[in-house]
Each structure stands twice: as structure tokens, then as C-alpha cells.
Subunit: 233 residues, 2 copies
DNA sequence: CGAAAATTTGACGTGATTCAAACGCAGTGG
DNA sequence: CCACTGCGTTTGAATCACGTCAAATTTTCG
């Protein structure tokens, strides 16, 4: 069965790259999977360095991937939302390169396999998978570039726009949505201090760009938000 | 012919990760290549976004890969030294994701192919290539982490140590070597301003850690250098 | 309800960028 | 041979964005 034939058809011209791993048309993958299972919030799906056990597709909920480097400062490499695929960056190495855990109770499909050989896909699909990983290198690089050379307000604006696009694609309102992640998690993802994030959210609210109450966010002025996100240095 | 069978045997425990692309035992690749050719300094080997034309193996000289993002601030993603392979990150996408040009006159082997299908390697080698690309994702991430959360002196110390290892592996002195790249290029690679780099080099010299005359560098106190590189925040 | 955790806000310190000027060095032409 | 020019590098001073520290406030959840 050709599960990867639509690989690469998505996200080819994404503007605000934050490298979420929804490279495939996930329905095909789900057909291969075990029954849906749920994982309560703050549970760990996979530990960094542990052997690869297969991919997961998010059906509902939110997860995060933390890559621990030597010292304890942790960096969140990805958030996973419904439709996203978890574990693509672990296929090759054979180990999960980060710890993946739920932020809220989530529903997941598991596509179990240890090595890529066990996945019933054709030669051409392997090529597509290869292409997919190669693209991920570039996405990582883009993210690095953004984190290094873009000021914090631009990074945050891009983040909100990305989330807006996500929710829009999922059929939800692009303007009002609930983010399961805490401020600290968003800050870690955006490589800034919690306090900086908090100040930025306050500033955006004062400017009437958005409103934030707890985990609920409303984009009141998407144009202004986009202007901040696109601001050249 | 099995050119990728030693894939992944190198660089598995590299400490100071700056992601140079020497993943393969290059001699196998060279056997597949066109005759050696030379490219004068400041010439471009491949342009960002142009179609993939094949891999290159550096025989001698130095090259750099620049990835241009929207605004003009350029980021050097890689330096290529003898033994390194150029273009691995372009295989999948089919386009070069950065502009690759010579810093000094360089000798190169060209392994021409357009798509991975044209490379005469086995299924298991494809797996290895896949593993290789997957690892590159992690390397990119590690570099991001270092650039973001390590202070500039640590980054520079790591850079010198990496270069020292490189030259050592090539059979040259690990303590005294000539770097073809300019200060500006090193600064771009390490994501800092030229002035910051210049100040750091001055400081290291005052501390007796190294001496720098033009493009010639001597590591006078590798222990002290390593202490800076390993310093936790 | 009450303790613990998360968030906000202010004051302050600092590493690194930016601006500016001076310096050294190589190549060119008078 | 020396002035002239352009380029890379160095150095100092000023500035800024962001992180850190600390205290206040709100939210969460048993």
C-alpha cells in the first residue's frame, strides 16, 4: 500500500516555518495504525535516546518534543497538534532524539515499526521519505535562523500566525483559539525567557493586536500582527 | 558497488558538533567520480535554489555554504574542508539549499547525478543514507542550541577545537594551522558580529590561549581553550 | 478553601550589537 | 619610490535587547 504517495504535497510554500512535522497525508498512515489510544496530560510518549518504536499521528490534543542538551536548559523543538506526525526525525537514527510528552490529554494513532524496512512502502516512497527528511534539515535551519537573527517580538508574532494557520487548516477559527501549552512552554519553544514572553503578550494586548485570557487567545488585528512578523531588520 | 557501506561509521561520538558533512568514507565516493578539477578562490560551485547536480568531495582547499534568507543578513551554514562531502542536504529537495563557493582555490571530485535513483547503491545503503540525513537534522538542532544558548566565547572556543580536530584527522598539526576564511566569515558562521569575534581573538591572545597572525592560528594552551568550550552556563 | 504553581510587573545588570574612527596591508598608478 | 585607494581588521564608546532577580498577583487544583 502506498502510504507516502502524497508526501511532500503539503507545506511546500509555508511562510512561517516552525517545522511542525505534518509532511504526509496522514489518513493513509492511520489506515496502517493500531486503534486510537489516549494518553493523559503530562505523560511521556517517548524518551530521548530510547529505541524507535514507530510513528504516531495526533488525532486530538497537544504534545511537545524536548531535546535535552548537556546542561539543563531545555529547548522545545516541536509542538504537535492534530494531524501532525511524531517521530519522523527518529526513523533514521533509530532512537528518539527528544522526549515527547503530552501537554493535554491526547488521542494518538500508533504505526509500530522498528526500522524503515518494516514499513510496507515502495522504493519510490522511500525516495519521498528521503526528500522529506532532507526538507526537515532545511526547516531546522530556517528555525535556527529565525531564533538567532529575529527579535523576540517577530518570533512571537510568527508563532501566533503559525498557530492561526494550523487551526484554520483544522477547521477551527483562525482568530480565536485555545493553546494548551503554558507560557513557559511557549517561551522555551521561542527561545526566550518567560518574562520576555509575558511582557510581549502584554504589549500586544495594549496595542490591541490580540487578547489573551489564560490559554485562550484572540487575534484582534491580524494585519498588525503580520506587519510585526514580516518586519525586516 | 557499495559506496555507502561505511556510512555512519564516522563522527558518531563527535563532541563539538558543528555539522560538517563528512558522513561517508569518501574514498568510495571518489571512485565513482569524475576526474579531479580545481576551482579558483571566490568562485561559486552551486547556487541556492538551483537544481541538484550531484555531490562533491573536497580534495583540497576550503569552501563555504551560505543560506540566504529573506533579508540580507547571511548565515554561513557550513565550511567544507578536505574530505568533506558537499551537497548531502540537497539530495532530497533536488535543489541546493544554499550557495556554495570557494574561499580559496580548491580541488574537487564531482559525483554527478540528478536524483538519488541514479546513484548505483543498494537498498541497505539507501537506509544508511536515510539514517545519515536523519542525523543531520539532529546536528542542525545541536548547532541551533549552541548558537542560541552558549555565549560567544564558548562558541569560538568550540570552533577552534573543531578545527584542531579536523586538521589533526587530516594529518596536519592540531596546534598550528592556517584558516582560509576571513574573520567576517568566521563571525558569520558563529552568528556574531565581526567586532565581537575580533575582541574575543584579542582576549584569547592576551590570555595566552592562542596566537593569531592573519590567517595563521596557533593554539598555545589547548587545556584552557577546552575549559572555555566546556564551561556550563 | 488554601497551598502550590504559574504569571505578571518592575528594577537592574550585562553581553553583544552598532556606530564610528583609526590602523595595517596589498595592489595600482603616477 | 611614494602617494592613493580599497578592503579587512582592530579598538573604543554608546546603546539596546534581553535575561536575571525579586516581589506581587493570579490561577490551578487537590
Amino acid at each position: 500500500m502506498e502510504i507516502l504517495n502524497k508526501l511532500g504535497s503539503l507545506n511546500t510554500h509555508r511562510k512561517h516555518i516552525y517545522g511542525s512535522h505534518s509532511f504526509l497525508e496522514t489518513q493513509d498512515l492511520i489506515n496502517l495504525s493500531q486503534p486510537l489510544f489516549t494518553l493523559r496530560k503530562k505523560n511521556t510518549l517517548a524518551h530521548q535516546g530510547k529505541p524507535f518504536q514507530g510513528l504516531y499521528v495526533v488525532q486530538c490534543g497537544t504534545l511537545k518534543q524536548i531535546i535535552q542538551h548537556e546542561n539543563k536548559k531545555e529547548l522545545i523543538s516541536h509542538f504537535f497538534l492534530p494531524g501532525d506526525i511524531i517521530g519522523l526525525d527518529a526513523i533514521g537514527e533509530g532512537n528518539y532524539c527528544g522526549t515527547i510528552s503530552t501537554i493535554e490529554t491526547s488521542g494518538l494513532y500508533h504505526i509500530p515499526f522498528r526500522t524503515i524496512d518494516e514499513l510496507p512502502i515502495s522504493h519510490s516512497s522511500h525516495m519521498q521519505l528521503l526528500r522529506c527528511l532532507s526538507r526537515a534539515i532545511y526547516l531546522e535551519h530556517s528555525r535556527m535562523w529565525q531564533m538567532i537573527s529575529q527579535p523576540s517580538d517577530v518570533r512571537l508574532a510568527c508563532f501566533f500566525i503559525m498557530m492561526s494557520c494550523k487551526f484554520s487548516a483544522l477547521g477551527y477559527s483562525p482568530h480565536c483559539f485555545r493553546l494548551a501549552m503554558s507560557r513557559k512552554e511557549i517561551a522555551d519553544y521561542l527561545c526566550m525567557a518567560i518574562e520576555t514572553l509575558s511582557r510581549l503578550v502584554s504589549r500586544f494586548q495594549q496595542q490591541g493586536i490580540l487578547s489573551a485570557h489564560g490559554h485562550e487567545y484572540c487575534l484582534l488585528n491580524p494585519t498588525a500582527l503580520a506587519a510585526i512578523a514580516e518586519r525586516k531588520k
